[in-house]
Symmetry: C2
Subunit: 226 residues, 2 copies
Amino acid sequence: MADRRTVIVEAALLGANDERAADNRRRFAACGVTVVNLLSSPGSGKTTLLARTLADLGPRLRSAVIVGDLATDLDAQRLRAAGIDAVQIATGGTCHLEAGMVAEAAGRLDLTALDLLVIENVGNLVCPASFDLGEAVRVVLVSVTEGEDKPLKYPVAFKSAHAAAVTKIDLATVTGFDRDRALAAIRAVAPQAALFEVSARTGDGLDGWYRYLMAEVDRRAGRVRR
Amino acid sequence: MADRRTVIVEAALLGANDERAADNRRRFAACGVTVVNLLSSPGSGKTTLLARTLADLGPRLRSAVIVGDLATDLDAQRLRAAGIDAVQIATGGTCHLEAGMVAEAAGRLDLTALDLLVIENVGNLVCPASFDLGEAVRVVLVSVTEGEDKPLKYPVAFKSAHAAAVTKIDLATVTGFDRDRALAAIRAVAPQAALFEVSARTGDGLDGWYRYLMAEVDRRAGRVRR
């Protein structure tokens, strides 16, 4: 009985979330802002990659970040210290962001003044994948330190991603990372995803990632890059 | 409305889980088996630490593992390859193990022949913390590669743990891990937890971890270690 009610309520919740996500998507499109939903395990390097990416692209791109965590505003502090406009959502225990939370946080930003809005989701490779936030682009990260099998073990996040990035590749040798096995796992689960291998520390692989992001922004803004 | 129903159903679900967890706990106690619930992010090294721990303690300890993942039986395969008896639960998308799943999996083991049963939970630093499985000991892992702030950002798992272990300490130098800050974060959130720093690769710190586990087993088995 509890199981049955759960299914019903889950469907209702996801339905309500989908409606709000559709509202968000219309609002983002009207403002010409490209919205990226960034998913990964805790500690895969979301904030570090974002801080470097948005600092490096800063001269060419007006950007902001909405960041979700169960508790603390540590990530927003880190991003602001890197000169990035950031709004923190503290979910108070909820394991994922929902479209309504994002709508509220987005209300604190001038969307018309932005080219790119990144939503850094709660660190969780499972639950955030089930909640559309109204994003245009979903990106999943997996670090070399997590092991090569994660796409197979946590397929939902990878299946729903437009792009996947292997992070911390500067640690590949010391961790004994099996690159071929990891890339094969991503391609098996997420053949649709653009694939990047990056190190925010050394800068390796960032050029391709930046080109992808800029192309997504340009496509939506309907203009040629400066 | 949806929110209100959710709260009711969540409470009902957790209540039903608690009842089954209490059943599990009585059954485990009657069999004299110490049950550990192991929580962490994906890729913190749960399986690697378990494989080494149970292999090293093998001569002194009869053990088995119940391992949960959304998909695949890769972890059970890895454990079996290390000579460890393992039962895989594939949750099919559910982000945590529940007491009922554990009861079913435990039915496939001879509990009376075990000193220690480890339940390796789904890799997720959020949701598993809310579900009692009937364990006697809850252990949370966090690897040096995840960064020092994780206990502050994901407090629930740490607050509910009897022990916390920092894993992959062989990578501390190369990752620039700030040990003092990490230990302070764990102590701030989880002052009750026994604290270990380990590397399953080099063996550093494992002695203390093994002594803790063996003391827990001995306490429940009511006998002196061989």
